[in-house]
């Protein structure tokens, strides 16, 4: 971050294109066999965007079907397959890999001043494994679908299953290995590959949150793997493992499932929090308020996330005593989450705030995540949850966290680092416009669902009583606005790759090692290993924003 390193990293500052990771080699082979973490990040970006489209289409069809109380579009059986597909694809094949595998892969070595991740071959392997899982899942979706919901609860998924649960479970099992490899790679990279002077407390907060995420990858994913394997064995061999008729305990499946799947929610939200910490500091040009609190709250969230899974099971037949313990512990998550929200807000205070597109996403995130988090407290308390469990209130709550939180941050991060990734800028006006549309569309879609859930409309039904229609129509209308909001960035981001204005190393004038190398970075990231001499977000020494070259 020192100025000398900055100068040395740009030997030729003339307008002719420099050699970078994108133009160093050409051809399909150079992409499919690449060991460069930046290219692998882009491979992931393409893959999860496709999966997002698949999950999005399923969601659109659901919302269309719910326009009328009797259902307008599909049979109830098809509706079951739609929400299962939407859930499985969005959770396991979009949200879990979203920020870690794309921005994480791209940025971790850049931010810590390394040439690559610790195990580039495993990194590439993880993408191939992920693609295999995706293809298997798509095969299941297009050849009969799956109707168990994304939670695979037995005995729906074993004794009474009439769809191909085994293959779907294997698809997630396979994709899980890519998570494990990514997590391993990140932990080792952050421990062992930091540039000279990059001490733990000089790391950008994005790195801290990715570290916490990687811990959950490593410690949680194996449990879902063995759970799905047990389910697969039960399904394939028709033997009793979770089947109560044969002495099994279906609630044990739920324990093992949520031991991973609750922390998986934090796999989605922790990286988002890291992105938001970067965006808030960058666009208020201020040091983060309470660096170590934000850093340690990431680790605290990762640890506490493993202590609360029983709050998904309050009405499952779990013992009341376990319910009590899980309820109390669930409230603990609020503490580190609130620490983050308060610290971001305090960072904004007296900052010199500018409303670039990424900042709009970040501010949207803070509001939506706060709503999502606070409604979580309703669901964490045993007695309220008995009323709200299995209603649209839950649906609205987790969409505020996962879409209003994770996806907003993902979009914000993508916009912020897009010039670094491609070397070109997107049209700023369109980007701000899309951010606003997404915010409005999102709230229109999901806020009515809080009301619907509170009034008692259960989730996962293709039909509903007529008195719920107006709120459902409102929600479906919002979904179409939201869809437009997602299509606009897809168009202008692709457009910008060829026609966007070319930018210099640091178009926003922000701090961080990734902005000290050229855009796009060279294959080994830095022409000379950077030496870090100051802590993160030291905006007293910030450079002026670069003049954009057209």
């Amino acid at each position: 971050m020192s100025t000398t390193a900055t100068v040395e990293n740009f030997p030729n500052s003339s307008a002719e294109p420099q050699e970078n990771y994108l133009n160093a080699r050409y051809g399909v082979r150079s992409w499919l066999l690449t060991l460069d973490h930046k290219r692998i990040g882009l491979l992931y970006l393409g893959t999860i965007t496709l999966m997002f489209v698949v999950g999005g289409i399923a969601a659109t069809m659901m919302r269309l079907n719910l326009l009328e109380p009797q259902g307008t579009l599909v049979e109830p059986e098809t509706y079951n397959k739609l929400f299962s597909t939407h859930g499985i694809v969005m959770v396991f094949f979009f949200l879990v890999p979203s920020i870690p595998a794309t921005l994480g892969n791209f940025l971790i070595p850049l931010m810590i001043g390394a040439r690559d991740v610790a195990f580039p071959r495993l990194n590439l392997l993880s993408w191939y494994i992920f693609v295999t899982g995706c293809l298997l899942m798509l095969y299941v979706v297009f050849t009969g679908g799956i109707d168990t919901g994304w939670t695979f609860y037995p005995p729906y998924s074993s004794s009474y299953a009439h769809t191909d649960v085994f293959l779907a479970a294997m698809a997630i099992f396979i994709a899980g290995f890519s998570s494990i490899l990514t997590g391993m790679n990140f932990v080792v990279t952050i421990h062992k590959m930091r540039a000279p002077g990059m001490t733990w407390f000089r790391l950008p907060l994005f790195i801290w949150s990715m570290y916490a995420t990687a811990l959950i990858f490593v410690l949680g994913t194996p449990v879902i793997a063995v759970t799905l394997l047990l389910l697969g064995v039960e399904k394939l061999l028709h033997v009793g493992i979770f089947d109560p008729a044969l002495g099994g305990d279906p609630v044990l499946f739920q324990h093992m499932f949520w031991f991973y799947s609750h922390p998986a929610v934090y796999i989605m939200i922790l990286p988002s929090m890291g992105v938001i910490s970067e965006l808030i500091t960058a666009f208020s040009r201020k040091r983060i308020f309470g660096y170590s609190f934000v850093a340690f709250s990431s680790l605290a969230i990762a640890v506490i996330s493993f202590l609360v899974w029983g709050h998904h099971m309050f009405v499952s037949g779990q013992s009341v005593y376990a319910g009590l313990i899980f309820s109390v512990l669930s409230f603990l998550v609020a503490i580190p989450s609130a620490v983050k929200v308060f610290n971001w807000t305090a960072t904004l205070y007296k900052g010199s705030i500018s409303y670039e597109a990424p900042m709009l996403y970040a501010l949207g995130f803070i509001g939506l995540f706060t709503i999502g988090g606070l409604t979580g407290l309703f669901l964490a308390s045993l007695s309220t949850d008995v009323h709200l469990n299995g209603t649209y209130f839950v649906v609205a709550h987790f969409h505020y966290v996962m879409v209003g939180g994770a996806v907003m941050a993902y979009m914000g991060g993508l916009h912020y680092w897009w010039p670094k990734i491609t070397g070109r800028l997107y049209p700023d006006l369109w980007a701000r416009f899309a951010a606003l549309i997404i915010f409005v569309g999102f709230n229109l879609t999901f806020f009515p669902q809080f009301v619907l859930g509170y009034l008692g409309m259960p989730r996962r039904y293709a039909m509903y009583p007529a008195e719920f229609q107006s709120l459902n129509v409102l929600s479906s209308a919002g979904a179409s606005v939201l869809a437009v909001g997602y299509v606009i960035p897809l168009i202008y981001l692709i457009w910008s790759m060829k026609y966007g204005p070319v930018v210099g190393p640091n178009p926003f004038g922000t701090k961080g090692l990734e902005w000290t190398t050229q855009s796009p970075p060279p294959t080994e990231n830095f022409l000379r290993t950077p030496i870090v001499t100051e802590e993160a977000y030291n905006y007293e020494t910030a450079p002026e924003p670069e003049v954009v070259r057209v």
């Binding site: 610790a118 391993m184 080994e524």
Partner: protein, 220 residues
């Protein structure tokens, strides 16, 4: 900077060989942490069901023959010892023949384990109709416990099956190591692949150390 690997096995993304060695070891330990949680999930479901159906697990355990379990435990302990010796011979700069010898011995012991398991245990279970999903037969002496005895056998096959799968992967890794050793790749300075694979092999041994008493030794 050289891309790819040079003869000492040094990869371009690292600054020093020591950093690379540390990273590899840490990576393997983290992988083993995932394995602990993976097998741990199985051990937990085993624990829950054993506490729910103690009688059925007792009956189920009597299907298994202690002598094969005990012999195989000893075989695996021997293989752990030979594995440790192969790493030591690389560390102390022994000739490549010594390293290869210990590695081959380790593989042979691993193969012995698998042979005993397949030939005298699983195949036997298949013939005796005590293999869940393949014509499992409810014996009259089990009475009402029969479905849960089948569940015990399910866990037996699931746990030993995954363990055997790990053994097969381990033998594959050892084959690669043997090939690397025959090319003279390991020196007293560079033996990280050996050490890291050794960690994996010992871990698989530890899993069996727990499987043996939990599956075979339920007698009272």
């Amino acid at each position: 900077m050289v891309h790819g690997e040079n003869p000492t096995g040094f990869a371009h993304q690292f600054e020093t060989l020591e950093q690379q060695h540390d990273a590899g070891r840490l990576g393997m330990w983290i992988f083993l942490a995932t394995e602990i949680l993976f097998f741990g999930g199985m051990f937990m479901s085993y624990t829950v069901y054993r506490s729910l159906h103690p009688q059925a697990f007792l009956l189920g355990s009597h299907i298994l023959e202690v002598k094969f379990g005990a012999i195989n435990t000893a075989v695996l302990i021997c293989s752990s010892f030979t594995m440790a010796m192969s790493i030591r011979s690389a560390q102390t700069g022994k000739k490549k023949g010594t390293i290869i010898g210990w590695l081959i011995l380790t593989m042979l012991l691993g193969a012995t384990f698998l042979f005993l398991k397949f030939r005298f245990e699983w195949y036997h279970d298949y013939l005796e109709h005590t293999m869940p999903g393949f014509g499992f037969f409810y014996r009259p002496e089990w009475g009402t416990h029969a479905p849960q005895v089948q569940m015990f056998m399910c866990f037996y096959f699931f746990m030993t099956g995954l363990h055997a799968l790990h053994m097969i992967v381990g033998i594959g890794v050892l084959l690669v190591l043997t090939w690397m050793a025959s090319r003279g790749r390991f020196t007293s300075q560079y033996f990280a692949p050996l050490e890291i694979s050794g960690l994996y092999w010992h871990f698989v041994d530890i899993v069996w150390i727990f499987l043996f008493p939990l599956l075979y030794l339920i007698r009272y």
